[in-house]
């Protein structure tokens, strides 16, 4: 049990630190440090352009997607080196959130299922941020029931023809490629009739419509497919095996989101350290201290849980379903933390944006937080995963399990 760098790790850290010190876009450091779950706003720059430039610079010097193999644009680093890099990259790591879907989910799925020539063509520009990828799984009627999707893919010569609609697609409005889960056989039970593809988002018949969220921002989109043609060689995995392919993506999604998700605690602690209440500094108030302590141990518990996972990973173990706890705990925590910060602000907590305390940081957090508890699987789905796959409890009863997809009822009260 130790936290000290080995001599090799210390050497890696020193090189990484020196490179970041010399190359990071320091003019944005302050803005990035202040962004948490609310929107990252760069006062003097477009976030996508800044993120792409930083990613490209990293890629050219061999610092992009550290754990990917070199031939696909990565560095072939160990999990520990990846952690050291993240520690050293600090607030500049916020910029890679723009690529989290591509790097965390699409890339690993391509690596596991794409043809070798496709991997060599598509992965390096994904790693370098020159091309952005999105993940087209969810549908309006789907929610947590991902396998209930209705977007059809029908074979036509060497192509597949796609018709249907996806939703909640992060970053589709600036994505170049996407991985797409479709239904190729509606006459078999739902999990068995799915097939996965990747496609060019500029293909004829793809239409992206941004969704305005509760927070007022538009990070997600609806994506419509009208007679979109995808060549068969862009299929990932076998026809009808799409569910298995998607499980690879979803497992990577949980660890990617879990690792990156913020708890809001450092922001709250900092805020309470300077905030003056009527009776004195907030941090000296007994009730405030109790709240802070409770969240402090959740935040540190998450941090050290991920370190335990990294230690296991570095010994060659696979990331397991226990990684679901990161998002489960952090999701509701950030919502509670934001609510509490506003409670401390009293009546003025209602003001958001530039006129609010800390430029509306906690207000932005509050309005974004509900999404965190839903995206990548709701809290309830996360608890099911822990209960079933970690604790070995029985699965939920599924009445549609052995029913052909086209015989499953689609309406409740009619």
């Amino acid at each position: 049990m130790n936290f000290d760098d080995t001599p090799q790790e210390a050497e890696f850290r020193a090189i990484a630190r020196a490179w970041i010190g010399a190359n990071a876009p320091k003019q944005y450091e302050e803005d990035l440090r202040k962004s948490s779950l609310g929107r990252t706003v760069l006062r003097n720059g477009n976030i996508l352009e800044v993120a792409k430039a930083w990613q490209k610079k990293k890629a050219d010097a061999g610092w992009a997607c550290l754990h990917w193999p070199k031939e696909y644009g990565g560095r072939g680093s160990s999990p520990i080196e990846r952690v050291i890099w993240q520690q050293e990259e600090g607030p500049f790591g916020q910029l890679s959130r723009m690529f989290i879907i591509g790097h965390g989910m699409c890339g690993p799925t391509m690596m596991a299922f794409a043809r070798e020539e496709h991997k060599r063509t598509y992965l390096p520009p994904l790693a370098s941020g020159e091309k952005v990828w999105c993940q087209l799984f969810s549908e309006p009627a789907g929610g947590s029931d991902v396998a209930g999707l209705r977007t059809r893919a029908e074979k036509d010569g060497d192509d597949w023809v796609i018709n249907g609609q996806k939703i909640w697609t992060s970053g589709a409005h600036y994505s170049d490629y996407g991985i797409l889960l479709t239904r190729t056989d509606p006459t078999v039970p739902k999990h068995k009739g799915l097939t996965m593809f990747f496609l060019d988002m500029k293909s004829t018949g793809v239409e992206v419509r941004p969704i305005k969220q509760a927070s007022g921002a538009s990070d997600f989109n609806e994506v419509y497919f009208t007679n979109v043609r995808i060549p068969d060689h862009q299929r990932l995995g076998e026809v009808g095996d799409g569910w298995n392919v998607s499980l690879t993506t979803l497992m990577n999604e949980r660890s990617a989101i879990g690792a990156a998700v913020s708890t809001g605690f450092p922001e709250l602690f900092e805020y309470c350290s300077s905030l003056m209440l009527d009776d004195g500094p907030a941090i000296e108030d007994r009730a405030v201290r109790s709240k802070l302590a409770n969240w402090a141990v959740k935040a540190s518990g998450l941090k050290y849980t991920s370190m335990r996972a990294i230690s296991a990973l570095s010994k060659g173990e696979r990331p397991g379903p226990e990684n679901s706890i990161g998002k489960l705990v952090a999701g509701s925590m950030i919502q509670d933390v934001a609510t509490y910060a506003l409670d401390l602000q009293g009546a003025r907590g209602v003001i958001s944006g530039e006129d609010a305390e800390l430029a509306g940081r906690f207000q932005a957090m509050l309005l974004r937080a509900p999404g965190t508890r839903v995206e990548g699987g709701t809290d309830e789905i996360m608890r099911n995963i822990i209960a079933e796959r970690v604790l070995g409890l029985p699965g939920d009863i599924r009445v549609d399990k052995d029913v052909p997809f086209n015989k499953i009822p689609t309406k409740g009260r009619s």
């Binding site: 130790n2 007994r286 302590a293 402090a296 141990v297 998450l302 849980t305 209960a387």
Partner: protein, 375 residues
């Protein structure tokens, strides 16, 4: 970086689990719970023979000289088995106080006796009013004799010696407190057993009347030593609590798989699944915080005070959470004397208070985090 126990340490854990599964069944725990014995003497002897009591005591003082990571591993298993022995008071509190502040002669006298199971020790700190604080200590020490009352003292009725916190100055400052070592079998001591939430680990009231005592550590250093002892004990107790949390979760899970209601295993109902998932989450967070505490303890890192408070809070919450929901999963049966659920519920709630309450440790954690941020 490697944030895990070593293979040797895991082997020690397996060995301890196997030993305790054989020698410390719930039936054996019940002998003490039902008041038929003050503690499990046979088990205590066995633990000494296995080398578990002296695992972190240096070889020159009769121990195994392995270290604190090894002690953490044993502690987890003691908690898992709900062992009815004075392990925490003797090994975490008394032995650690001796290791930190004892003279060579004091260490030579008591540490080998602890390792061999011949001496039970404890820490006499509280005087009935709340949490650790120099102001709360009224017992006085003057000219080498103690006068005053300590209550509650963990395992006080069976202890052979005690580390006693006494007032040697007149104010409420840290430097007004000194520690003393008292042979409880000598004169001037009156011990009364107290009923308590967890009869598997007794509590006592000890009255000192012109009782002879020898100083432990320098005069006026008592509070500083105590703080170190409590931090170390907080990490070690956290491992007991983690062991207890895991066991309570396991009992709940097993029952949910066995029990059928409405024609289904109750573990197939989402309400029950989610309750068990939440128990797993709190136990996992507590385990991770405790691992950090173990690292800080074993390396005597500057982070120990903060890590210890975090481990203490997290593990206390987890054990209470798992123990109470284990009863809930069991329904009415869980509330009977006959089922074992209440043993863990009792232990969880007693342990939550033993080193000072959650409120106290929350306060400590925030103070320590502020200090770190200011530095």
């Amino acid at each position: 970086m490697n944030f895990d126990f070593s293979d040797d340490q895991k082997q020690l854990r397996d060995q301890a689990r196997k030993f305790l599964t054989e020698k410390c069944s719930p039936k054996a725990v019940r002998v003490v719970l039902d008041g038929k014995a003050p503690y499990d003497k046979e088990l205590w002897k066995g633990l000494a023979e296995m080398g578990f009591l002296g695992v972190a005591i240096p070889e020159e003082f009769g121990g195994a000289g392995a270290g604190h990571l090894e002690l953490c591993v044993i502690a987890e298993e003691m908690g898992r088995a709900n062992a009815p022995v004075p392990f925490s008071s003797t090994v975490y509190l008394a032995a650690e106080a001796l290791l930190i502040a004892g003279s060579d002669a004091q260490k030579k006298k008591w540490l080998p006796a602890i390792a061999s199971g011949e001496a039970i020790g404890t820490l006499a700190l509280f005087e009935g009013n709340g949490n650790p604080s120099p102001k709360a200590i009224k017992l006085t020490a003057a000219n080498g004799v103690l006068n005053g009352v300590k209550k509650p003292v963990a395992d006080g009725a069976i202890a052979d010696f005690a580390v006693v916190a006494a007032r040697t100055g007149s104010g409420g400052r840290d430097s007004d407190i000194s520690l003393f070592l008292v042979d409880l079998k000598a004169g001037g001591v009156e011990v009364k057993s107290l009923t308590n939430l967890d009869p598997t680990r007794g509590q006592a009231e000890i009255t000192f009347r012109d009782c002879k005592a020898e100083p432990l550590g320098a005069a006026g250093e008592g509070w500083s030593i105590l703080t170190q002892v409590l931090d170390r004990a907080a990490v070690l107790c956290a491992f007991e609590q983690v062991g207890g949390s895991d066991r309570a979760l396991e009992m709940g899970r097993d029952y949910a798989l066995d029990r059928i209601a409405f024609g289904r295993q109750i573990g197939s109902f989402q309400a029950v699944k989610h309750m068990l998932a939440d128990m797993y989450v709190s136990a996992t967070l507590a385990r991770s915080n405790s691992y950090y505490g173990a690292w800080a303890l074993s390396t005597n890192a500057a982070e120990l005070p903060e890590a210890a408070a975090a481990a203490r809070i997290s593990a206390t919450q987890a054990f209470q959470h798992c123990a109470k929901n284990n009863i809930q999963v069991h329904g009415g049966m869980g509330f009977t004397w006959e089922f074992d659920c209440h043993m863990y519920y009792r232990r969880a709630n007693a342990m939550a208070l033993g080193l000072g309450s959650l409120t106290y440790w929350e306060d400590q954690l925030i103070d320590r985090m502020r200090k770190k941020n200011a530095a």
